[in-house]
């Protein structure tokens, strides 16, 4: 954690209730200047509400938003140096592309000449030159998206908020827009706060990810940290496809896993604790049943070709089914030996 002046935005003890329904609960994190931060969470996790509070469209019940060291909690949206790209773009239907982008500049009283220059500049950034006089209702989803981004960045905000901005696009266009957004982020050098429910999108685009679930922050970390070291059971389930098996922690760096005592890093736990072992499908080792080197025995339920690997499901003697990715095919019904390297056994608790 850096000093507080390193942060352009700090969210402090933020809670939001709509009547008796609690949407955000004691949310706290900081965003560094120039970062690409993603707020990731399933629908209903409160991520859009959090973004609306940062943008000034919603007031928190408790807590504050600090912008560049100043408390802006009670500052209305129109005064904040923050602009938003809305989920369904929210382009003004009665204005053409040029007038839509000019709206924020007109509000600020920027003169016509400068308006024209800045609009030409952002149209170039989003690749929409020549579309000035188009009716926004006649543009495709991807084009509307670009106009919405142009309309926001033309105001030179210090922070750009993007609310599920890519969700309405088809897969291919979405991938392309992800790359373009990253490029724009580098080019503009401003802070991006991106909201999505898509973990792949979050992992591929962000410097840091804030994972929200039921209004609570589950983990704040870089994509690789989130992928390799999920903070709790929810995170282990949420990120990637993992084998998650309930275990008992034993004395002396050992755990009781699938009916066997094996070595593992148990530093964060006490003997007697219940925890969960998180094992990636590609980290499960598999061999012939005759081999004595692996601690567990199981029977192959299925083995399917998936392009670069075979996805094999093995049922252990204790009844658990393990998902395994290896480059060898196993015939259904064969007995196999199963093992996991000590370093590939990662333990999480039920709570953070």
């Amino acid at each position: 954690m850096g000093r507080s002046q390193d942060y352009i935005i700090q969210v402090r003890g933020l809670s939001k209730r709509f009547g008796s329904r609690s949407v955000l609960h004691d949310v706290e994190f900081g965003i560094r200047r120039g970062e690409f931060v993603t707020i990731l969470g399933p629908s209903g996790s409160g991520k859009s509400t959090l973004l609306r509070i940062i943008g000034g469209l919603e007031k928190p019940t408790e807590g504050s938003i600090i912008f560049d060291g100043k408390d802006i909690t009670s500052m209305p949206a129109e005064k904040r140096p923050i602009n938003t790209v809305f989920q369904h773009y929210a382009l003004f239907p009665h204005l053409n592309v040029y007038e839509n982008i000019a709206f924020g500049l007109v509000m600020k009283g920027v003169d016509k000449q400068q308006q024209a220059e800045r609009i030409a500049e952002v149209l170039q950034i989003v690749g929409m030159q020549g579309y000035e006089n188009y009716d926004v209702r006649k543009l495709s989803g991807g084009q509307q998206q670009r106009v919405a981004i142009a309309r926001a960045i033309v105001n030179k905000p210090e922070v750009l908020l993007l609310d599920e901005s890519l969700s309405a696009l088809d897969h291919k266009l979405r991938k392309q827009m992800q790359r373009e957004l990253k490029a724009m982020h580098r080019q503009l050098g401003i802070t991006f706060i991106f909201v999505t429910h898509d973990q792949e999108e979050a992992i591929s685009m962000s410097d840091n990810i804030v994972v929200l679930q039921e209004g609570k922050v589950q983990q704040i970390a870089s994509p690789s940290e989130i992928y390799n070291h999920p903070s709790n059971l929810f995170m282990a389930n949420f990120i990637g496809e993992n084998n998650i098996i309930k275990i008992q922690v034993l004395d002396g760096q050992k755990i009781f896993l699938l009916g066997q005592s094996v070595e593992a890093d148990t530093n964060r736990f006490m003997a007697g604790d219940t925890a969960y072992a998180v094992i990636r499908p590609e980290d499960v080792l598999i061999s012939d049943a005759t081999s004595e080197e692996f601690p567990w025995k199981g029977v192959v339920c299925s083995s399917d070709f998936r392009g670069v690997y075979y996805e094999t499901f093995v049922q252990t003697k204790t009844g658990e089914i393990l998902q395994i990715r290896q480059d060898k095919e196993y015939e259904t019904g064969t007995s196999v030996g199963i093992g996991v390297a000590r370093n590939d056994l990662y333990l999480v608790g039920a709570e953070a």
Binding site: G56, A77, F86, F92, P93, H94, F103, N155
Partner: protein, 246 residues
């Protein structure tokens, strides 16, 4: 295609018998006198001063009614359409309920109310009565078009630096123009031809164009009444054409 045209037939018959035929008959009455002689006398009589004044006065009342209906109807339609203001959705029913009651009954009821409030019958009472009767016809289309405005649009305006008032006039009002146009059509056009309301609320002192038409037809001056109706119809058609262009 053949089957589709079969469905169109009843409407075509309806159009011919109930719209085109009456118009042709009316036009015929307008250009012939009682003896069956062709004459433009009735149509031209529109230009005599008394009729022209009544006509202009009627248009004035219709415009006044329409403007008052917009000024009164727009705020209430806007407030009820914004879900975030937290008014129950069915509250709108109370505002458009009078639409379901016969206009004559509404007006009789209003006479009683005006009496209680000591407002004399006359031109003020006439405008009150017109607005009272036609306000629901303005509120309904306005409400429908305002409901369709995504609250994200208004929030986007705030986000881009617009104050609440600027967002209202720069975004809400322009986007709701289709609703204003249909509201105007629903109010302005029928108010030109109304006659019962003016009779009841001014004790027949103020003559509107509709009243003149009604009086001439009632006193066996069919040709004259038909000619005036044609003029009125032209005004309605012109209004419609002008508004449709928007």
């Amino acid at each position: 295609m053949r089957r589709l045209s079969t469905f169109v037939a009843p409407y075509a018959i309806f159009m011919v018998i109930l719209v085109i035929l009456p118009l042709v008959i009316m036009a015929q009455y307008a250009v012939f006198d009682k003896e069956g002689q062709f004459t433009l006398h009735f149509l031209l009589s529109f230009t005599n001063e008394e009729i022209l004044n009544t006509f202009i006065y009627s248009i004035g009342v219709a415009m006044e009614t329409t403007i008052l209906c917009i000024l009164l109807g727009y705020p209430i339609a806007y407030i009820l359409s914004r879900k975030e203001m937290g008014f129950p959705a069915h509250l709108i029913t109370f505002f458009i309920l009078p639409m379901g009651v016969n206009m004559l009954l509404n007006t009789f009821a209003l006479v009683a109310v005006l009496d209680v409030l000591h407002i004399p019958l006359g031109t003020t009472a006439l405008v009150i009565g017109m607005v009272y009767n036609f306000l629901p016809f303005m509120v309904q289309p306005l409400y429908n078009s305002l409901c369709k405005i995504d609250s994200n649009l208004i929030e986007a305006a705030y986000d881009l630096g617009a104050s609440k008032i600027t967002a209202f006039f720069k975004i809400v009002v322009p986007v709701s123009i289709p609703g204003i146009v249909s509201g105007v059509m629903m109010v302005f056009m029928p108010t030109i031809s109304t006659f019962a309301i003016s009779e009841l609320l001014t004790m027949n002192k103020v003559k509107l164009f509709g009243s003149v038409v009604q009086a001439s037809i009632g006193s066996d001056m069919l040709n004259y009444g038909a000619a005036l109706s044609i003029v009125m119809l032209l005004v309605v058609v012109i209004t419609q054409v002008l508004l449709k262009d928007r």
